[in-house]
Amino acid sequence: MSQDNAAKINLSGVRKTFAGGKKVVLDHVDLEIGKGESVVIIGGSGTGKSVTIKCMLGLLKPDSGSITIDGKDVNNMSASEREDINQQVGMLFQAAALFDSLPIWENVAFGLIARNQCSRHDARDIAVEKLKLVGLSPDVLDLSPSELSSGMQKRVGLARAIASNPEIIFFDEPTTGLDPIMADVINNLIVHVNQTIGATAVTITHDMKSARKIGDRIAMLYDGRIIWAGPTDAIDHSDNEYVDQFIHGRTEGPIKMVARR
């Protein structure tokens, strides 16, 4: 196996099935994500984008294939080694996944407190600052997640993901459910986090405007494989009919929308 020093995350031949192997979600995924790079994964809903990210996070274990982070095989490491890796990871879940039992500020500061990066008192100040970045005022600090709209919950989830300045950040559909202006704020924020902090960013989206803005590179997932990957500029002349159909949102084409949703 070639050891590529620049690769922060490397997936090779990742396969993930459910229902005892009957439902193949990821067939053979190969993807390399460089250090400090921002990669966007696009693909129709239900193609396994979230599953791909969960495999990288160690929340799901692939059936076969390997995933390395900083050159270390994360599938076969001990729980404590995995915890060390998680220290430098941030994740925005598709439905935010805020903790219902905790107020907003504790949600945002959860990782900081858990990792003993600061005291509870300082953590609250950091929460204020991170909430400001995602366009939320300190009024929400003591509310509970159920008192916020889903778009606001998403932004709190984003603040939580970036709160401890992680080296790798995963964004699962960061702009879904937001109005176009707020979506742009979030896009800019992701670009900011990626460029100023130098974090490696992996974003899932089917919002092409967002993908173009955020991504250095775009990869398209279809039928359990990455069928195309390349620089963002190249996506308009990919010569791949699947990609063309997807980015232009056409019904006609090789991708068949069979009884979805």
């Binding site: 996070l57 929340l59 998680n86 996944a97 805020l98 219902d100 990782g111």
Partner: protein, 262 residues
């Protein structure tokens, strides 16, 4: 053609699988109870939830149980003109059996269900996954504090239930059946031994562990959606209740075999 043995075989295999999963879950949960970091706030929240917020429900159960015991044993014993035995019947039944079992079952309904629903909801809304990504082990953060609080607090709750239950019997004996109050208390006091109380509290501790374990286990392995969480909740209550009754028999056998044999 379907082989008739096949469903039996697969039911047996899935039983083994579930048992194995439960054993691993238990071992894992217990190991997190003794390894730092400890989540004091979570533990405190569970202690309040299990140890104090359940007291009204358990107290009501206990007082009626004590009252009905006094009434029933009076109608029974009056035939043998042995009314004096009522205090003993109430005290022994409450401390040895009814206190722990009724409190255990009530708590299985209240706490076991709430835990399964809360952890199950956290599972299906990916909050459990979110904990992992925030460097927090969900077994340690969610499961361990609940197991500890259940095991430690149920003896306390049952002790209160014992007192209230005996008081319920006293109320009926004194105000309805016209017994002498100080004689009744004296009888109660004389019949009770340390073993009666301690065996009840040990049972309570076991029931607390069982209830919280079932709540956590079923919540943690909850299937998708509201339906999955509903099923997890039901399973938690049913399995905890059955296990409580089963373990109660085993512990009674352990504590009182001597009496039975002699």
């Amino acid at each position: 053609m379907i082989n008739p043995l096949r469903p039996i075989g697969s039911a047996f295999l899935s039983f083994l699988e579930t048992t194995g999963r439960l054993v691993m879950f238990t071992v894992d949960g217990l190991s997190h109870c003794v390894r730092p970091p400890f989540y004091g706030r979570q533990l405190l929240r569970q202690i309040i939830e299990i140890g104090f917020l359940t007291l009204p429900v358990v107290g009501l159960t206990a007082i009626f149980a004590g009252m009905v015991l006094a009434l029933q044993s009076y109608t029974g014993f009056a035939r043998f003109s042995a009314e004096g035995a009522i205090a003993s019947v109430v005290a022994l039944s409450i401390t040895r059996e009814l206190g722990p079992v009724l409190a255990g079952l009530m708590i299985a309904g209240r706490i076991g269900a709430a835990m399964a629903a809360e952890i199950g909801t956290m599972r299906v809304t990916e909050q459990v996954d979110a904990l992992t990504t925030l460097s927090t082990n969900p077994m340690k953060y969610l499961v361990a504090p609940r197991l500890i609080a259940g095991t430690l607090m149920l003896p306390f709750v049952v002790f209160i239930a014992d007192v209230i239950g005996i008081f319920g019997g006293y109320l009926v004996a004194v105000y309805k059946l016209g017994f002498n109050p100080s004689n009744y208390l004296q009888n109660t006091w004389e019949i009770l031994t340390t073993l009666d109380i301690v065996s009840g509290l040990v049972k309570a501790s076991a029931f607390g562990f069982i209830t919280t374990l079932m709540g956590c286990y079923h919540g943690y392995h909850s299937g998708g959606g509201a339906q999955g969480v509903g099923k997890a909740t039901t399973n938690a209550v049913v399995s905890a209740s059955i296990l409580i009754l089963c373990v109660n028999y085993i512990l009674t056998l352990f504590f009182f075999t001597k009496d039975v044999a002699g």
